[in-house]
């Protein structure tokens, strides 16, 4: 990460605009115990109260890391029912990084965010249809399968 991903101009730009970054050794206490760190690198997205909303383990290229961070930010908003801000970020992931590994989850969370903000179940079914069409082998397509029954 330090050699390839963190020096990347777009990664730096995204982090500067959206996040406060902190880097600690994998065995630094009490944080390593608090977040149950077993693998490195482990990258966690927290809200401003220090609550975890998303984590990744292992190397990610810049093209995968940025949408992963975007998903983390979106989930911070989603988990606190900030659906407008969550949707804005989730749609940007699909638009700017359609091929990333984070995108199927973003499509899934987008469907749930639309459902929770409108109470229209059609959004869940639409999310499944889109996942089935665009990401047929994704685990998120499998997780959304029950929505096909709505």
């Amino acid at each position: 990460m330090g050699a390839v991903t963190y020096p990347d101009e777009k990664v730096i730009e995204f982090i500067e605009k959206n996040m406060i970054p902190i880097q600690v050794l994998f065995d630094s206490q009490p944080l390593a115990a608090k977040f149950n760190i077993q693998w490195t690198p482990t990258v966690i997205t927290l809200d401003e109260e220090g609550k975890e909303h998303h984590r990744t383990i292992g190397f990610l290229s810049p093209e995968e890391f940025i949408p992963s961070l975007m998903l983390g930010v979106a989930k911070c908003h989603f988990d606190r029912e900030g659906f407008g801000k969550a949707l804005e970020m989730l749609e940007k992931i699909s638009k700017d990084y359609p091929k990333s590994d984070a995108t199927p989850e973003a499509v899934y969370v987008r469907g749930v965010a639309l459902y929770k903000s409108t109470h229209q179940a059609a959004h869940l079914k639409d999310a499944y249809k889109r996942l089935q069409s665009e990401y047929p082998s994704s685990e998120w397509t499998k997780r959304a399968q029950p929505y096909s029954l709505l």
Partner: protein, 33 residues
């Protein structure tokens, strides 16, 4: 000179900054090897 990420070191200070700037926190546990 190329830009680099300015990493913070103190967790408590990071949360203060995140609240003040309305941003989320990126917490990276790394192995220097």
């Amino acid at each position: 000179m190329a830009k680099t990420i300015t990493w913070e070191k103190e967790f408590g200070q990071v949360l203060v900054q995140a609240r003040a700037q309305n941003k989320m926190v990126l917490l990276d546990f790394f192995n220097p090897l």
